[in-house]
Symmetry: C2
């Protein structure tokens, strides 16, 4: 937990929050790294784009996420960040971040925790995309996002959880085409497992969804737990 003094120092160092309409870029791949960013509200996605236009969504960010950091010495962003909903983002100059890290150990620990957690989330997506079939990939993504959005695992059945997903976004995150995503969503719907309609996910059968997505035991905490 950060001390009141640390929080005050953070308040002093950060810039004014920026309101971003849905669909706007926070930063683009190849742009110079400027500030670290704190997501206050809304959803943001991080994606890597190939020269031919295909893109891989690396992560979906929920409020509270810290992003925009690159390894020291890395001058440009390796990926782009784009708001999926209207979003509020608060920049923090890298130099101030560095100062805060060294001044407040609790703050430093939290940064490290965040980066490690993000790496673990990407690793799990890699495993899913590399090894699982289309149905499991879609199921896994829906389960992850519902669990993270609700901060709860397993997800509560019947509740409509707002998620700003389109079939194209699901495809870009899972390595599938939007058409095939549509077919997989139909299967999940017809089997009474989970439904995605009008940007809302309803989990009908949490047990079967978990069985399909089959998230590795022991990592579930990363979806639902806050920072220590």
């Amino acid at each position: 937990m950060r001390s009141p003094e640390a929080l005050l120092a953070l308040e002093t160092a950060r810039r004014r929050p920026i309101a971003l309409p849905a669909g706007t870029a926070v930063y683009r791949q190849g742009e110079p790294v400027q500030d670290a960013l704190n997501l206050i509200s809304g959803w943001v996605m991080l994606a890597q784009t190939l020269p031919d236009g295909r893109r891989q969504i690396l992560r979906f960010l929920l409020p509270g996420a810290l992003f925009g950091l690159m390894p020291t010495g890395q001058a440009t962003h390796s990926h782009s960040a784009e708001a999926l909903t209207p979003a509020l983002v608060c920049p923090l100059p890298l130099e101030a971040l560095h100062r805060l890290r060294h001044a407040w150990p609790g703050f430093d620990d939290r940064i490290l925790w965040t980066i490690e957690r993000d790496a673990a989330l990407i690793a799990e997506r890699l495993t899913t995309v590399g090894q699982r079939d289309a149905l499991a990939r879609v199921a896994h993504l829906l389960l992850e996002l519902v669990a993270r959005a609700q901060r709860r695992f397993p997800p509560e059945p019947g509740r409509a959880v707002p998620v700003p997903l389109t079939n194209r976004l699901i495809g870009d995150a899972t390595g599938l085409t939007p058409e095939h995503v549509s077919r997989m969503l139909r299967t999940l719907r017809e089997q009474g497992i989970v439904t995605l309609l009008h940007r809302r996910v309803v989990v009908q059968d949490a047990a079967r969804l978990v069985a399909l997505a089959d998230p590795p035991k022991g990592l579930l905490g990363l979806w639902s737990d806050p920072a220590p």
Copy 2:
């Protein structure tokens, strides 16, 4: 750069190095997190295994790598680590790591740099596996490993670079079957681009290999540059 005092403190805190024969596990998925580990010599792979036996190789580690860290509060390993060659590994108790981080800012910065770099490498693999075809995936992996092993980009043509890869390992890293990896390697060989024979890679046509793998500009430093 870390100060002499910091290096001394590190020397004092670490345990005695452990020699691992090729094929042995450093730790297994699901085991409790114990020490952080420093790879002194040899190659190690990090992999996530699914219940049905399929596995995704997340990263290949080269000497100097720091691994075995998990987000604070995460009790068990989300992946396994296995030596691909005879390897020398030096454990560092987590508690000592924590102390060193807070006592020596340069040390702390280097840890953060390492984790961020590792996350960037995994993200790039995710993009490759999710979006590129089989030939490009294999080309990308060979290029990455040759560049990292030689600390040099683009790779020097004609030089035989030792890599402990089997077709199965390439398949597990790229999401392909060993049979299809064999077909892709044949294509790369027949086209005079790159050859893998007897655990040695020879890059024949660096320009075409780079064009095929098409690594995002600006990330190349992560393959060939040392820590700042």
